[in-house]
Symmetry: C3
Subunit: 253 residues, 3 copies
């Protein structure tokens, strides 16, 4: 009962095969939606940029949603974004203009992406994540609820230096990455950390300001008592190595 | 002017007596709404689970809203939830599937309940609270804005061990309960705490990691200079002891 | 394509000249909208107070939106609010009743203002800010994402003593102002601070509990190596001194 063809399409919208679009969803001009995608109800795809309200010569940028994507209800995606295949959003997500997402990414309920940022493949942003402009995330980066990526070292200023996070790193809930910090690969930022300095590969950091307390390879699983990280050896749900295992998959990259 | 009968009802929806349903609200299949409830405008009740999009044999679980409830606008409640009487939500609340709420609970604006959790009676979640799956809250638990309940001890993993909070405990703003922690009864978690270990009954804990700094019975009211906790002796608005007082009420339980 | 005259107006609504109102937006009774304003789609202006649902004698308070305002989509503004000219909101903002905003203020996406608060001129609240009741902000106060202003010193209680923030002060991301704290002028509260005591003018405070670590005038710009604060000497975008400079502008106040 979600799909009664009560949506609105702008000009120059390309809708792939077997796409479902929910009621009251608005798709503005110059949007492409890949095959087999679902855009649920009450979404806005290609929300016009701010200049729309003031510039009579406004030109709407191109927006691309990759194939097999699922965008949940009440999500607002601005014009000028590009998503690879199998993108998923939660409800009420807001994504400002000019982001590039790789494939198989997800952004959770009520998250707020401020635009002009890059995301690798298989990035997972959970609920209520805030990504400031000019952020850069690698592949397989997971960001947990209420994490904030900032970009202004001396607020307010015209500086805008976003954080960078390397492949496989995990940023736990309620952490803040301060402007321009670089988190390496396979790092783990503990819950509630304020990260003011770069985080080396394989480091677990916690606290305010965040300090390295151990190598992630020394973190044990509560259940098995064995080392848990690097996590790709232990976790494969939804990952490209879910069948062959991380070792084998990695060899073939 | 909110109620012009412009809502949508699915199949097998049972609407009690004297219920108001706002415009553009969608009530999906297999939902029951108790007498004298108000479902305001632009709500979704019984949002279909994820399998709806992929499973042609999808079966919609039962959703129950207790009598005298007030669900404010733009709230999304998934199928499979059960709410006791006098439930209230703020605006834009999201509640995923398979939670059980006692009676007289409230969930504030933009809060995000991830599903599969239990709430006692008179639980009050303020604005922008995030409750991860498998959490368990007792009676009279109040949770303040931007609190996060987590459940994965080694992210990412398949573990999902939610926190538990005992009766009468208060979790102040911007705190995080880490996976599996048990907060006792009549405890007070101070603002901005990262709670990594169990909190005994009647304890005030603060900091990252949270440590006990005193017994709550030693916390004085700023206004009177007298001991304030256990709070049920001092606060009764909306509580079942509001007429007879906590002592008297407690005797009769 | 946003503006197809598919909105709803209540009684006694005064709409200025050259105002655009988006589709599905609802403007309730007793609202005034100033000239040249844009109310985008799916907004609610003058949302009725809670007593609307229960009080048959409900009287709708007056709501005023100043001229040249831009209210982005899905914003809910309760009745009884007054906004000066050039107000801007992000998406999905919620503003409860009886706030007074000066002119040139902005409130970012998904922020939640609990009502009964005062804001000077040129206040900028970024995304996902939570302002508890009885807060008071001066002029040129900037509040960054995920900041919470609290007001109950012994939760739960009937006390409601909001924080106060003086002119030009900056409250960085993920900070909490505890009930009744007074932040002076030109202060800087660092990211993730829990502010439990008053903050003197020109102080930089950080940590939990927040402590003064230096005078803001000793904070250097990363880019120039020179002192950056007081910031009005360095930053002027959108400020009233953007043409003549802060010194000159200040002389004429």
């Amino acid at each position: 009962m979600k799909f009664n063809n009560k949506y609105t399409l702008g000009k120059n919208v390309t809708v792939g095969n077997n796409v479902k679009i929910g009621d009251r969803t608005i798709i503005y001009d110059n949007v492409t939606i890949g095959d087999n995608s679902v855009i649920s109800n009450d979404c806005v795809i290609g929300e016009p940029l701010n200049s729309y309200y003031t510039d009579e010569q406004y030109i709407q940028p191109i927006t691309e949603i990759g194939e097999e994507s699922l965008i949940r209800s009440h999500t607002i995606i601005y014009a000028g974004n590009r998503f690879g295949s199998r993108f998923q959003s939660g409800h009420r997500v807001t994504i400002r203009e000019n982001c590039i997402f790789g494939h198989s990414c997800s952004v959770g309920t009520v998250s707020d992406i401020q635009g002009y940022s890059q995301f690798g493949n298989y990035c997972r942003l959970h609920s209520n994540v805030h990504i400031g402009m000019n952020s850069k995330l690698g592949d397989f980066v997971f960001v947990y609820p209420y994490v904030v990526f900032t970009n202004d070292p001396t607020p307010p200023s015209e500086s805008c230096v976003g954080p960078q996070v390397g492949n496989y790193s995990q940023i736990a809930t309620m952490s803040v990455l301060l402007p321009g910090v670089k988190v390496g690969e396979h790092a783990l930022v503990g819950a509630g950390s304020i990260v003011s300095r770069d985080v080396p590969d394989y480091s677990l950091v916690v606290g305010n300001p965040a300090k390295k307390i151990k190598d992630v390879r020394d973190v044990k699983s509560r259940e098995t008592g064995e080392s848990y990280y690097p996590w790709p050896h232990r976790f494969s749900r939804g990952m490209p190595w879910s069948e062959e295992g991380f070792e084998e998959w990695k060899k073939n990259q």
